[in-house]
Amino acid sequence: MIIFDYEACIGCQDCVKVCPRGVWEIDAIRKKVEIAKSRNCIDCTACEFQCPVRAIRIERTLIPKQPLVIGRPQ
């Protein structure tokens, strides 16, 4: 399960560059990343480890859950 702090994201795209499953994509207009394919996530935690502002957290859950995005304007 991905927990993503949208407000903290600085759009550096480090997560996009290290994700081997294409979960993240850059929103060129807002200059922040978006979760494009959350179902592809395999909990490798590369994005969590590389994020310079700690905006991403990967939690282990036995029951599959939708990603939680914090602070994203509608």
């Binding site: 480090d14 994700c19 294409g22 036995l62």
Partner: protein, 331 residues
């Protein structure tokens, strides 16, 4: 490059049984094709097969570069990274021990992308090294360097082509064969508990040969049919394969006999009702191969793997119980 016993030991999946059986190589700095102080530095871990493939790719593409082999306890890059066998300290240790700073004039490191779960770019930057995450496959590293350290989106994604799947399957088959070798004496003892004495040699030979052959068939089927499987879950894959095998084992012979007009159509119903020990073994074995095999594909998350193991073991226990209490069939 010549392929010695170490190569084949790795291919046959020795490390699957016990990580200590993984063949390691020496850590250190290796230079290729007359690399000088300006040449780029690639980083990898010390699993023999990993280093072998990296060297092979470097020689194939005739790359002028250095290769820094980091102590990763003999585990491949991705597993080692997620499993905590390699981290930023291992990379910094390797840099110190090889005095890399004196060997090259620049401060760029090309890390494998899949090491990103445990090697921090920021900490390396604090120590004066500008680390970049290269492509997933070593074969793409030439174009990554030519492209001024930029990779395409495809080069950053894991793929799992047929060759890799069949190779993976072979390693798993060797592993499972050893598992079955250990398990058959236990099954033999259990078989003797409830019925007449079964000769050890006959039991061992017939059940082991049968189980190994079936497991090999299931594994190969899953490797080939991978793109058309409905989910990434190894459990579901095992179930699909098992049901398909039951169909082939049960329906086709009956249809053949029906076509030859040697049996009554009601026999089909009877045959399916007798989901006997053979059927249970086929289903159980397929589930075992499924969730075992599924765990080593790059599509399955850790959470999904945990769910698969719980569901798989639960079903296996149920199947064993059914087989134990209803040895002649369910109905």
């Amino acid at each position: 490059m010549n392929k010695g016993w170490k190569y084949y030991t790795c291919i046959l999946g020795a490390q699957l049984m016990w990580p200590r059986l993984a063949v390691r190589t020496k850590m250190g700095l290796f230079s290729f094709n007359g690399a000088d102080s300006e040449s780029p530095v690639l980083v990898t871990t010390d699993f023999y097969l990993t280093v072998h493939r990296v060297r092979e790719a470097i020689q194939e593409e005739n790359l002028k570069c250095h290769l820094l082999v980091v102590d990763g306890r003999g585990i491949n890059v991705w597993c080692g990274s997620r499993g905590g066998n390699v981290d930023t300290d291992s990379v910094l240790d390797a840099i110190d021990q090889t005095s890399l700073a004196n060997q090259v004039s620049h401060r760029n490191l090309i890390l494998p992308q899949l090491i990103a779960s445990s090697v921090s770019k920021a900490v390396l930057a604090d120590n004066g090294w500008n680390a970049m995450f290269g492509p997933v496959e070593i074969g793409d590293v030439g174009s990554f360097i030519e492209n001024e350290y930029e990779k395409t989106r495809e080069q950053g994604m894991v793929s799992f082509n047929l060759q890799a799947r069949l190779e993976n399957n072979m390693a798993h088959m060797v592993f499972e064969m050893f598992m079955f070798l250990l398990m058959t004496p236990i099954f033999w003892l259990l078989a003797n508990l409830g019925g007449p004495f079964v000769a050890w040699f006959g039991y061992w030979w017939s059940s082991l040969a049968y189980i190994v052959l079936l497991a090999w068939m299931f594994g190969t089927f899953m490797a080939i049919a991978n793109p058309i499987m409905p989910t990434t879950s190894g459990y579901v894959r095992g179930l699909v394969t098992g049901l398909f095998a039951l169909l082939v084992l049960k329906i086709i012979p009956v249809m053949f006999l029906l076509w030859q007009s040697t049996i009554d159509p009601s026999m089909i119903v009877l045959d399916w009702a007798l989901l006997d020990t053979t059927g249970l073994t086929v289903l159980g074995l397929s589930l075992f191969v499924g969730f075992n095999w599924g765990g080593s594909t790059p599509y399955l998350g850790e959470d999904q793997m945990t769910r698969d193991i719980i569901a798989g073991l639960g079903t296996l226990v149920l199947l064993f119980a059914l087989g134990f209490y209803f040895p002649a069939g369910i109905f």
